[in-house]
């Protein structure tokens, strides 16, 4: 088992302001850095505090996080079994024709029509109690806590209804007014590969924030993806659109990048914490902006101030 920094260590003073309603945390990374450890940190913190977490990934499968979590002392399967963690796999079958197999009990035939009647995107607040009944994956719960999203080989606007499973899951987990946390990774795939309009994805995020406490969104932020010019393609523009608008809405932004000065043997990259334009200020807290170095090794991840050498 390897050691991870706690969110309090990463966020410092600002951490105590974070676990609040409808907050948005944006984690960005570039090619060559992996934000997985930040994910584990947040998952670990939330799950240990007994909070419900809904974890959605469009670029990695559950086994990836299970093994990675294990290395960091995070037992995802047990949380999955307990029901505190719900994993929604938008990766494995995203573009595969949805063919239900005995192990994945998604009633795909029935799903589109049933979900179709439930939630118009960006609709008004929906009473949480009506959702569990109309949830298409209801049958899957005890045996297979992993839910799958499949848009099919040629995603159509109606297929996007499949994404509503995230919202219904979140709503199903609201208990005693405590909303679950949400972690979403790989939303860029929806834009880039599925051809979904960036605004639709933004709407989705806003919808999800309504029914979750802290929403954490992980997105790549390579400069080629967010620096737009007159020659930018729609692909780049829409990605930039998404990252920037979420950045403006976020309460805090954690960005990972590589060391500007090149490679060092004992530094993996730079973790920068900035405040977004979110509502954190209104609730009394302020995100302490800072930049730290981090180093991933077999022994875990260590964060340290620039110049302290990390020793």
């Amino acid at each position: 088992m390897s050691k991870l920094p706690t969110p309090a260590e990463i966020l410092g003073q600002s951490f105590k302001f974070l676990p609040q309603e409808s907050q948005l945390l944006l984690i960005t990374s570039v090619l060559g850095t992996s934000p997985s450890w930040l994910t584990y940190t947040l998952l670990h913190n939330s799950l240990m505090n007994g909070e419900n977490v809904v974890f959605v990934s469009f670029i990695n499968e559950y086994a990836y996080f299970r093994e990675g979590g294990k290395r960091h002392g995070l037992d995802l399967p047990s949380h999955l079994k307990k029901g505190t963690l719900t994993f929604i796999d938008g990766f494995s079958k995203l573009f595969l024709p949805s063919t239900p197999t005995p192990t994945q009990s998604i009633p795909t035939a029935a799903a589109p029509s049933r979900v179709g009647g439930v939630i118009p995107s960006r609709g008004g607040p929906i009473p949480p109690r009506q959702i569990p009944q109309s949830q298409p994956q209801a049958v899957a719960t005890p045996t297979d806590p992993i839910k799958y999203i499949s848009l099919g080989p040629s995603p159509s606007p109606t297929a996007l209804r499949q994404l509503d499973v995230i919202k219904t899951t979140l709503q199903g987990l609201i208990s005693n007014g405590a909303k679950p946390k949400l972690v979403v990774e790989g939303l860029e795939v929806l834009i880039a590969a599925a051809g979904v309009d960036a605004r639709v994805v933004e709407d989705l995020v806003y919808d999800l924030r309504e029914v979750s406490s802290t929403a954490t969104i992980l997105l790549p932020s390579d400069s080629v993806l967010i620096q737009t010019s007159s020659s930018s393609t729609p692909l780049e523009l829409s990605h930039a659109n998404l990252v920037l608008s979420l950045g403006h809405a976020a309460d805090a932004i954690l960005s990972l990048r590589l060391l500007d000065t090149g490679v060092a043997k004992d530094i993996s990259g730079v973790l920068k914490i900035t405040r977004g334009a979110g509502n954190l200020g209104e609730t009394g807290g302020i995100v302490e902006e800072k930049e730290m170095l981090y180093y991933e090794s077999d022994a875990g991840v260590r964060i340290f101030a620039r110049g302290s050498g990390g020793h």
Partner: protein, 421 residues
């Protein structure tokens, strides 16, 4: 003996997959190893099963795994009109054929597959071994191999190697010779070809994906290791314009990625991608890189190529091995497979394993000779009095550009002599 010892160690390090092979190698020689482990060994780093890329120095570059973890997808980019990436892919395909793996070539015809390099030397497992002075052993091995062929016709894929008792029962990575053509052993399956999408299709990759899934479903039922190659993805020669539309391409790549996870015990994918057509500064390429497990760029440098040509033509063929033809950049290192999130583990202290995966890391250079492709750490060589001479050397550009192929042709004659016996 030493090899046997090593496999014992591997065995205790706790990989289930290596067990049959290791056990078999310790057992009496008459027992061939069980096929599933052929060409597969546990990662030195995490113990996940890995297979060889067919290029030993590329294996060494893979974050300390010393092999390509099954269930991963590698993107080889080439920032020039040369075809060095093609050589890497051919080694990868040839290795698969020699090991009896399924080899699936997407988007290239059988002509591509006819150019696979042949085995150069059965004994040459390790690149450290000098070629000189090994001819004797080589001859012996070949005779034994022919013998083995006759003797064990019915015990399929194991006969390719392991005919010499002093060797490990199966080599992990063979050495190939670009001047030779691979003859597909009777024990191996010939490559399967999936044609490029037809020019008019509206969803160009769907037919490829459906035939690939069929192949994979069949392969997984027999648990046979499968290598998928996509040479020159999006090359306008074979792909219709519609295929470079982001939704088409990225859907395809995303699905390939999910296939590698679904068939994580049998599947590896290697893609070569022409950067001149789709530069790294485009979002499309960057998304492609994000979706792949490892991204390696080959960056041929014309002056390097020129110097290489020069050295070769000046008849000292041995030193040509050491002249780099370009730089290798690892933009994304393979992760400790199965999600450690740790890029470029530091457990290998040799530098190449420690720092890959970071932009502008240690410079790596590649050298492609007719014998093999090597990737090594690179530092600028001391200019040995060739200042000024370099620029004046008359080099026809075509030979420089077509080095990947041209060098092969040039070396052919000399090579014939080498191997005659």
């Amino acid at each position: 003996m030493s090899f046997r010892k090593r496999s014992v160690v591997l065995n205790t390090s706790g990989s289930s997959n290596s067990t049959p092979a290791a056990a078999a190698s310790g057992a009496p020689q008459s027992t061939p190893p069980t096929p599933p482990a052929k060409g597969v060994r546990p990662s030195f780093l995490t113990g996940v099963p890995t297979t060889s890329t067919g290029t030993a120095s590329l294996d060494a570059l893979l974050s300390g795994h010393e092999g390509l973890p099954l269930g991963s997808m590698v993107l080889i980019e080439e920032s020039s009109t040369t075809d060095f990436a093609g050589a890497l892919l051919r080694y990868y395909a040839a290795e698969g054929i020699v090991q009896g793996h399924n080899v699936v070539v997407i988007g290239a015809g059988e002509a591509w597959g006819r150019e696979l390099p042949g085995l150069s030397d059965r004994k040459e497992d390790n690149e450290d071994i000098k070629k000189k002075g090994k001819e004797e052993r080589m001859k012996i091995a070949w005779r034994y191999e022919a013998l083995g062929n006759r003797r064990t016709v019915d015990s399929p894929p194991s006969l390719q190697m392991g005919t010499d008792a002093s060797e490990p029962v199966s080599l992990f990575c063979h050495t190939y010779d670009l001047t030779k053509r691979l003859t597909i052993p009777s024990s191996s399956k010939p490559p399967t070809y999936i044609p490029p999408p037809p020019p008019t299709s509206t969803s160009p990759f769907s037919s490829i994906l459906s035939s690939l899934s069929t192949l994979l479903a069949a392969a997984s039922s027999t648990n046979s290791i499968t290598r998928v190659l996509i040479p020159n993805l999006l090359s306008p020669l074979s792909y219709p314009p519609s295929s470079s539309h982001p939704t088409h391409l990225l859907q395809f790549i995303h699905t390939l990625r999910s296939l590698t996870r679904q068939y994580s015990q049998i599947l590896t994918i290697m893609i070569s991608f022409p950067l001149p057509l789709y530069p790294r500064t485009t979002g499309l390429t960057r998304h492609l890189e994000h979706l792949s497990d490892a991204t390696i760029e080959l960056h041929p440098i014309p002056t390097f190529l020129a110097r290489f040509e020069m050295t070769k033509s000046s008849s000292s063929s041995t030193s040509a091995d050491d002249i780099p033809q370009g730089l290798v950049k690892v933009w994304k290192a393979i992760e400790g497979k199965k999600g450690t999130g740790i890029v470029g583990s530091s457990s290998k202290g040799d530098g190449s394993g420690g720092v890959v995966g970071m932009e502008g890391g240690d410079d790596l250079a590649f050298m492609l000779t007719r014998r093999r492709m090597r990737i090594e750490r690179f530092s600028l060589p001391v200019d040995e009095g060739d200042d000024g001479g370099d620029e004046h050397k008359p080099h026809n550009p075509s030979s420089t550009v077509g080095e990947g192929v041209g060098g092969v042709e040039a070396g052919k004659k000399m090579h014939k002599v080498d191997l005659e016996f």
